[in-house]
Amino acid sequence: MSDTLSVALGFFAALAPFGGVRVFLASMSTPATTAPGPAESAKTALFGGCTAFALLAAAALAADSFLDTIDVSGGAFLFAAGAAMAPVAARLILTGESMATPAAAGKQRVQPWLAPVGAPLLAGPAPMVAAVAYAAHYGEVEAIAGAGIALTVTALILAVSPWVTRWLGGLGLGVLGRLSGGLLIAVAVSLAIRGVHNV
């Protein structure tokens, strides 16, 4: 597997789109509206994905300066990135969700694509540390390209999430969310091992 695809897979695991579907939908809901329409879902997913991409790209570009500032080598940070993914992975495995679902707002939220979708749902702690770790290990271009690929797939899943939710049901979504946690654990362990085996 090429470096970029490997990075994309890592980002996809960290983004865990199936674990974020409920939060995504809830961010656009009010007590009066049970589910957003396809157009609104697509718009929120697109803008949220772009916001997250900007944040992850910025993290990747700032990786070297950030690591210099905190006096940590890239190899050591890989190990830390693996450790940082553990709480999110544990949450996914236990609940099937990457973060707590916010209660429906009394009125329509202003710019849900920015918060909570852009951040922290997509550009949350796990993808952000992944961006720094991958940029330090593989290079900024690979990290940004990998983030772009993973976010595109994630945004597509979120855009069709009303349909996915109807099709899979709560149980199916929960299972996929928990499987996302398993995948994230695998990525976290792989990052930690890579950190140990790094010069």
Partner: protein, 403 residues
Amino acid sequence: MLFRSALVSIMFWGIFAVGLRASVIPPESCGAHSKQAIGRAATAAADWMIRNQLDDGRYVYLYYPETDETPADYNEVRHAGVTMALYQAGGRLSSREAIEAADRALAWMQENTERADGWAALAPGGTRAKLGSSALMLVGLAERRLATHDPQHDGLMVDLAEFLASMQRPDGGFHIAWDFTKDKPDTVGTSAYYPGEALWALALTHEAFPDQGFDAPARDALEFITERRDDVEDIEFPPLADQWAAYGIAEMIEWGLTDQQVDYADRLAARFGLLVRTESQREGSWYGQALRGRKARASGVGTWAEALSSLWRASTQDERLAHIQPAVEERLECVAGILARRQVSAEEAKSYPRPGLAEGAWFGRGETRMDDQQHAFSGLLYTLDMLNDNPTREPTLPFPVPQ
């Protein structure tokens, strides 16, 4: 509600980040690593080895500054290692004093050399010849030959190499010693590091005498080290951090290595890289030291610099290792900086009971041992090569043999 939830989340991740910083990624510090500082540290270490040679050619083995004692313990493998480092100093620093001191140490080894069946081996006491001591004696002689171009010990070199070859097992590993009382090798004991020492010695001997056929046992030894040694020695975290194997790989890289051997070199670089990163975390903060345990002694840290400089050299000659070069350079500069910072300066040495035993030395666990200076010296010397972008380990000009 949303604000409270966000606040809790931020607090959780804040505490988690602090915990991660303290427990997983404490700050790394690499000390001063200018060429000048590293060069000065190397010279001071060589001076320590010269200055602390005894009248009979041996060296001060151990020094405890707290009690101002120099115990009578000795180890001939380390004697050969320090002598090897002095020949390196002689050739690379053009130091007449280093060559003269090493020649006195060589005379002690020659007096303690036993011969049998066409081979020679270093065996103080005449009952047991350890593989490692003869291997390092041979490396020292090879370094002397490279430094001086003097052929007077060529016969001894070949005889020592014959001893190493005769001790090789069918699997490419080595018996650890020859038992003169039974007139046969010790077939029970094993040593993790002796195969690497023998590998490098045989490789250097083949470079010196290409027609003698010592490349075959060297290749067998490399195959054993890269494919079987970690299992045979039951190494808990393979590959074994063996700088001798790294020296051997750097020497043999131009012979052509298999992909598996190159992969081993890659993993070996990672092993040493991890050790350097961990040590730099010990160096970087009090909590880093508390977490990572006490600092490694210079004989250990020096070997990391020796290994990484060897692997750097290999990476300049084989495209398959080119990808490790930037990281190896970073780690090498770091470990040399740590060594330079920890060395006892002339000013600091004045506070010791015997400043001559402290200046240029590294102390750990309340003592300095002669191989602390040996390994640190060699590591610093070859780090300078990396900093000067010099992939050639041998001295460029022969140094006249002292009369």
